[in-house]
Every structure is written in structure tokens, then in C-alpha cells.
Amino acid sequence: MRTISYADAIREALAEEMEADERVFLLGEDIGAAGGVFGVTRGLQARFGRDRVLDTPISEQAVVGAGVGAALLGGRPVVEVMFADFVTLAMDMLVNQAAKTHYMSGGALSVPMVVRLVSGTAGATAGQHSQSLEAWFVHTPGLKVVAPSFPADAKALLKAAIRDPDPVVFVEHKLLYNRKGEVPERVEPLPFGQGRVVREGRDVTVVSYLHTLHLALEAAEALAAEGISVEVWDPRTLVPFDWEGLRASIERTGRLVIAHEAPRRGGVGAEVAAMVAEEFADLLAGPVVRVCGANAPMPYAPELEAAVLPDARAITAGVRRALEGRLGRTPDATEASAVREGRRRG
């Protein structure tokens, strides 16, 4: 099968959807003539014209807002946020308008828009060009959140996002743009909410996404050499999330590690750990382990960036912690609680 890059896959999805549905159009800063600072939209303006691929002023609020307004009338805008960090300037439009309009209108209006967030570090991109903000949108009811880790998923999920009737935050990672992967000539939209076992394993499940997922695969490879069998599971979409798929994996392994680039505190990993502690606690044989970005802004120096980001080594260590950790109270403690329960019943 042919292999193309993650950026190519996104470009193909955009082109095919624009070809198939002329309501689809693109908005963004320097996405047209210049093809985007990462080249993701290269050639699309030449092919579809300036009415379908619009270069905008540097006005994130109005640009995202224009997408919302166009979507209210049935347009299918795909807005590029050149660096996810700049979505901070459009949060009202995304959170108060796009996410809530269908609900607040009692279903009378909807906002079929896609916002592409160029996320994560590209190496020395520092504090304001490196953020991974997906957790904010996972916490925003009304938005769907997609985070593809492979070219084939990027293409299939972007096609689904563009056809989706709701506002979708499409999270891309800079370090994936040049990563190649197999992508068939014809790709159907991938329904949201279908996670995937990327690598099978028996001893522990590692949940990850975007660039960090590839580090998890490295870690799994390294641990295999020691006879530790790691299952790497990719949610692919964060909202909706494939809880049943994750449950099935934990049923097999009994252990869970969550890894992502965003800061650990309040990150997507927290929600995954919480759901598991709440609903799948009966499946766990050990504590949940998170391997995430440090609770710090992204530093510029490579040495410091390496220190705040999770890498394959950190994930390996996390897997060991997950395998060694014990669960539940010491016998007497458990008994004590049994006593309490007795007391309560009697």
C-alpha cells in the first residue's frame, strides 16, 4: 500500500471533502497562497480558488467566529488555528458560541464546523507555540475532540469531522506532519468513538495519542525484549471516547498507563484515570500510572524541553511502576472497613 505523510493525509481529506461537497471551505492565516506555515494546505487555493480557501487577517476571534456564523447558515467551514496556542484568542467563539448554540437553541440551530489546532512542540518552539490544550475542549460539552496519531486515521477522521453535524476540535501534532504511514487510495470516514489496539499485549495497557503514542510504541518494543508484553491502545477520538474498547483492553491486561504530552495536572489522562478508577476499578490489578508533560510551561532549551516532556524511557518506567504497584488496603485496613460496613448495616 502507498505511504504518505500525516500532512499529506490531512490535505487529501480536505481536498476530497471540498471536491465532494462544495459547502466545505477553509479559513485561516496564510493557508492559501502560502499553503500554511506547515504546508498542510499547500496547493488547495490554486485548486479550489480564493472563495474556497480564504486567507484571513490576524484576527483569531473573528475568523473562528466567521466559521461559526457560516456554519449556522449551513456552510462547512474548516478553520486552521496556526498554532493551538492562539485559540486562546477565540475561546468565546468556540466555547460560548459554537459549543452551546445547538443546545441553547433547543436544537433549532447547529454549528457543523471543524477547528484544526496545530498542537504540541516542534522542538524549541517554547511557551507560546507548543501547547497541547485538548483537555480544555474535552471539558467543554457540545464540542467533539479528535486526536489522530497516524496518517490513515488523520485522513479518515478529518473526513468524518467535516461531515459531522457538530463542532469538532481536530487536534494535530507538529511532530507528526512529516511522519509517513500507509494510507489506502480510498479512505472512508472513520466513525467517532472507535479506539484501536495499535499493538497487542498481555501485561499492561498503555493509552496514548498524538506524538506521545509513538513514544509508547518505542517503549513497548524495548520492554518486549525483557518479556514484558505491552498493549498500546489509541482512543483516536477523545470526545466521544471509546470506553468499551478501553475496558476490553484493561480486562486483558489488568494494568493501565496513560501517556500524553500535555501537562499532567488536569490533562486528558486525568479523565481516563478517573473513569477507570470509577467504572473499571474491578478490573484493575494495580494502580493507574500517568506519564505526562510536567506541570510547567514549555521551555525553549532542548535540555529543558526534554526534561518536561514524556519520552520512551519515562513510559518504560511508568509501565514498571504499573506492574509493581499494589492495589487496595492492607488486610487489616480492608477488615476495618468491613467492620465499618457491618456496623453500618447492623
Binding site: 466567521a66 456564523g69 456554519a71 456552510g75 433547543g106 453535524p165 467517532f192
Partner: protein
């Protein structure tokens, strides 16, 4: 709308709707905020009289007048204020979020300036589709200090979008006078920053407003781009129901009350248009009856059920997976 009686009827409808709403809130039938439109009726009615059925509108926290002027059903509006199932938003929005998609009314908005980018995007979509229609955006003087105003007008002028930006300058943003929230007297002059025409119109003169709106709409449909209209007007009551508006000098209030847009137009109807007093009285009677029916409709509408709370979060919730 050409018949001046129609304009008068619309203004009376707004005036009386808002008065009724205020009473009903007093009596505890309306749980949420109300920002009465009383005093500004000529702006909504004048602008909407210049619009076509394909045109779309974004509104504000003070949106009842815009809805009614556009022809919305006062029954569904009261039902929404009452938080009932037959309300425009099924009880999920209330005054700040009322919409009527069928009328191209894209919504009131709880965020000051929030509707401005939305109208701009709607205008973009109308243009992309080659529709002979415009997007009208209502907002207040205070909203012109928001970044959304600046970014949107720049975008609309740059792209020559078919948009009408209608600023209802009622001299106050909440409790703050215009001269304490911006250093300029004329909001229309801000249009120059976008090489956009800016016009000032007497917002208490419904015919003047209609004329200005019609001219701006004509420009937009001719592909000449957006216009900023500053309608000078005044709200008779507080910023919201409950606000005593003590921060406004008595003389100022009285001067504006003397220029009540509804009363002054009523007088002109007789003097200039030869409308008989009897006609006006019967028309006013119709409005009362319509509002009476509307309130009854709201009162008898069922309350939403708990299970509806999780409906409409998504159009497609993937069998509830997106709700977890």
C-alpha cells in the same frame, strides 16, 4: 413594510410585550434576566422594515425588540421566558439566547459583542452562495469597545461582505456612560478605521432608521460591502429589570422620554399620514389581544422534563457516547 401603521403596530407590540414581561417577572413567572428594549423600538422596527425574508440577523442580550420586529411569535417568546417546552428554545435558552431559525434570526447573545463575528460569518456564507441577502448585526455602544467589533468590521470591509452593523447607541453600557467607556462621541466615525461608510441616524425616528437601513442594504446587495449605522437612542428603563438606573441625570431621562419613539410616531401618523385615531385605538387593541393570547399560550405550555436536559448537547451524540 410600507404601511406606516405596520411600523407603529410593531413598535407598540414591542413596547407592550416588554411591559408585560416586566410585570410577569415581577410576579415570579419569569426566572431569568430581562433587559428591556423599551425606548429603542424605532431601531429594531426601522431596520427590520428594510429587510427581505432571506436576510439574517444576530442580536444581543436586549433582543426581544429585534425578534418581534422581525415577526417572531410573542407566544413562543413568552413561553421561552417562562422556560416552557413550547418556547423558541424549548426552555433551554431564555431571554439571552432566543432564536427563530425560520425567520433567519440567529439568536440573542449573552456575550457583549458575541453576535458580531457570527453575523460576519453569516454574511460571508450568503456571499459565497451568491444569495441576494444581507446579514444584520445589532449591538450596543458598549460592544464597540470589544475586540470582536474591530476584528469583524475589518474582515467584513476587507471582503466587502453584505453586512449591516447596527449600533444602538443608548448612551450607556450597563451603568457606565458612553463618555466613560470610550473617548469618542461618534461611534459611526469608527467606520473610517475600516474604510467603511458610517452613518448616524436618529434612532427614535422609525422612518429615518428604515431609510438608513434600506440604503445600507442596497449598498450591500450591490456588492459595495458593509455599512456601520449608529442609531442614537435611549432605554427608558434600567439596564435590566431590577436596575433603578439612578446613575442617569433626571433631565437627560426626561428629555429622552419627551422623544418617546412610539408616542412621537403615533402623533405623526395622525398629523402626517392622516391615520384616524380610531384606527390607532383598534390597532392597539389588537396588540393587547395578541399579547393576551401569547401569555396564555405560555402559561399553558408544559414544563420541560428532566430527561430533555441531555438532549441537543449534540446533533449526533453517537448513542450517548459523546455525553459521557
Amino acid at each position: 413594510m410600507d404601511d406606516p401603521r405596520g411600523l407603529y403596530r410593531a413598535m407598540v407590540l414591542i413596547r407592550r410585550f416588554e411591559e408585560r414581561a416586566a410585570e410577569l417577572r415581577q410576579q415570579g413567572f419569569i426566572p431569568g434576566f430581562l433587559h428591556p428594549y423599551i425606548g429603542q423600538e424605532a431601531v429594531a422596527v426601522g431596520v427590520c422594515a428594510a429587510l427581505g425574508t432571506e436576510d439574517v440577523i444576530t442580536s444581543t442580550h436586549r433582543g426581544h425588540g429585534h425578534l418581534l420586529a422581525r415577526g417572531a411569535d410573542p407566544g413562543r417568546m413568552f413561553a421561552e421566558l417562562y422556560a416552557r417546552r413550547d418556547g423558541y428554545n424549548r426552555g433551554k435558552g431564555g431571554s439571552l439566547h432566543m432564536i427563530d431559525a425560520g425567520l433567519g434570526f440567529l439568536g440573542a447573545n449573552g456575550i457583549v459583542g458575541g453576535g458580531i463575528p457570527l453575523a460576519t460569518g453569516a454574511a460571508l456564507e450568503l456571499k459565497r452562495r451568491g444569495r441576494r441577502a444581507v446579514a444584520v448585526c445589532f449591538f450596543g455602544d458598549g460592544a464597540t469597545n470589544e475586540g470582536s467589533f474591530h476584528e469583524s468590521l475589518n474582515l467584513a470591509a476587507l471582503w466587502r461582505l453584505p453586512a449591516l452593523y447596527v449600533c444602538e447607541n443608548n448612551l450607556y453600557a450597563e451603568f457606565t456612560r458612553q463618555d466613560e467607556h470610550q473617548p469618542i462621541a461618534s461611534i459611526a466615525s469608527r467606520a473610517d478605521a475600516y474604510a467603511m461608510p458610517g452613518v448616524i441616524v436618529d434612532g427614535n425616528d422609525v422612518l429615518a432608521v428604515r431609510e438608513a437601513a434600506a440604503a445600507a442594504r442596497g449598498r450591500a446587495l450591490a456588492g459595495e460591502g458593509p455599512t456601520l449605522i449608529e442609531a442614537r437612542t435611549y432605554r427608558h428603563r434600567g439596564h435590566y429589570e431590577g436596575d433603578m438606573a439612578r446613575y442617569r441625570p433626571r433631565e437627560e431621562v426626561e428629555a429622552w422620554m419627551a422623544r418617546d419613539p412610539v408616542q412621537t410616531f403615533r402623533e405623526r401618523l395622525g398629523a402626517e399620514f392622516g391615520v384616524a385615531e380610531a384606527d390607532l385605538v383598534s390597532l392597539e387593541g389588537e396588540v393587547e389581544e395578541a399579547l393576551e393570547r401569547a401569555v396564555r399560550f405560555a402559561e399553558t405550555s408544559p414544563r420541560p422534563q428532566a430527561h430533555e436536559a441531555l438532549e441537543h448537547v449534540y446533533v449526533d451524540d453517537h448513542e450517548g457516547a459523546a455525553l459521557r
